[in-house]
Symmetry: none
Subunit: 224 residues, 2 copies
DNA sequence: CGTGCCATGTCATGAACGTGTAATAGCTTT
DNA sequence: AAAGCTATTACACGTTCATGACATGGCACG
């Protein structure tokens, strides 16, 4: 029914879950480490990733973030303990659900189904520009897979600019459409907001990659 | 592995089964009468109810019907005699299985597992988000396995938000779809309802995990 | 019919946060 | 070199939200 990528270092658990999920008509690929999992994911279009937290090399949280950085694949985390730190951290890292080991295969499968029901039902309109991810449904922005918290005006500005990549907007246009200011006035307000936005989403604010200045005209959302 | 509510008036049987099930890693609550059992069920989100038929006060059939009226919890009936009337009546009243006393604990446990296997195979419309469970059929909500009683408006709000996890809803949208208010007005009504809902479902209402504020825009159901 | 409880909507308060403005520094073009 | 444009930073005001108290109204129960 679904394409599942299982990232789990314990061979016993890995085999058991693989068999159980295959027995329920899922297509399963497995990986024994985070690196291997990320590599598989580039060739295997999984619907959902089942991700163990305790992994050799890069840990589950980091894997989770990296997956989220590039795809919207659902993630079900798997952990030996249900301690709050893990749960909170896991969900913050972008997991869709969190299951505590030991887990019965049918429970895991029910979780997978629930997650897929949720995410497949309403695919969220997420736009990716390089390392920047803009989700217009949840109004969240992430850079390199890490969530960036944006205040309202900066977020509105980014949403407006990124809706038409490449198009140049004058300050006046932005004041009208983003700020809904009707009066005409020379104000550096837009500039200030752009600076603050850049400080949060750009790697090198001095040489912005996403929100670019068009001298004498206004601003534009990358690409280059 | 499972959460079992045992409704049985005979103290000997009750204690014996409770101990046996606990010894096999189940979480067990017990009640000595139908009334008590129904009351427990409002606070204990059982996976399965083991229900004796001969009870003081309201009898097992009636308890069974009342449970079925509100929840989709599995029910295993327990009876002193195996006469056909009871079996047929029990299953008609909505029981999932029927066991005849005296019953050896391991047999009862096997039945419980079987019932859960069956019902898990066809997942009821229950959505689990972290520690929060929303059952859209019975309109019940539980947190960490404990039932949370929600007033109508708070429940409607939660159902609406959780139907589209991650999606941000403005206050105005919520007023229209949840309250069915058509007028436009600046009202803190939504805020108040969110606040009351949080107090009931969040571990730390000040740092909500499920119903999140998106400053300047509205609210969203996590996990994001 | 009366009473009491609970849910709901409104309001006041306070704190946290974001925003607009302004002043200064830096850079580009003429 | 000067003028024009933009970057950067700082600060104070205003907005927004959380929180808790209060009044209303419906519903169940006596």
């Amino acid at each position: 029914m679904a394409r599942v990528l299982l990232i789990e270092d314990d061979p016993n658990v890995r085999n058991a879950l693989t068999l159980a999920l295959k027995g329920r008509d899922h297509e399963v690929e497995s990986a024994a480490s985070g690196e291997e999992g990320l590599e598989r994911l580039t060739r295997f279009a999984a619907d959902v990733v089942v991700l163990d937290l305790m992994l050799p090399g890069i840990d589950g949280f980091e894997v989770c973030r990296r997956i989220r950085a590039t795809t919207s694949t659902s993630i079900v985390m798997l952990s030996a303990r249900g301690d709050d730190f893990d749960v909170v951290g896991g969900l913050e890292a972008g997991a869709d659900d969190y299951v505590v080991k030991p887990v019965r295969p049918q429970v895991l499968e029910a979780r997978i189904r629930a997650v897929l029901r949720r995410t497949n039902g309403v695919p969220s309109p997420v736009e990716t520009y390089g390392a920047l991810c803009v989700d217009r449904a949840s109004l969240t922005v992430s850079r390199d897979g890490r969530r960036v918290a944006l205040p309202p005006m900066e977020l509105r500005l980014l949403l407006h600019l990124s809706a038409a990549p490449g198009q140049v907007f004058s300050r006046q246009q932005l004041l009208e459409s983003v700020w809904e200011h009707d009066y005409l006035g020379d104000s550096r307000l837009v500039d200030a907001c752009v600076q603050r936005l850049r400080a949060k989403i750009e790697d090198m604010p001095a040489e912005p990659r996403y929100v670019q200045t068009v001298r004498g005209f206004g601003y534009r959302f990358g690409p280059v």
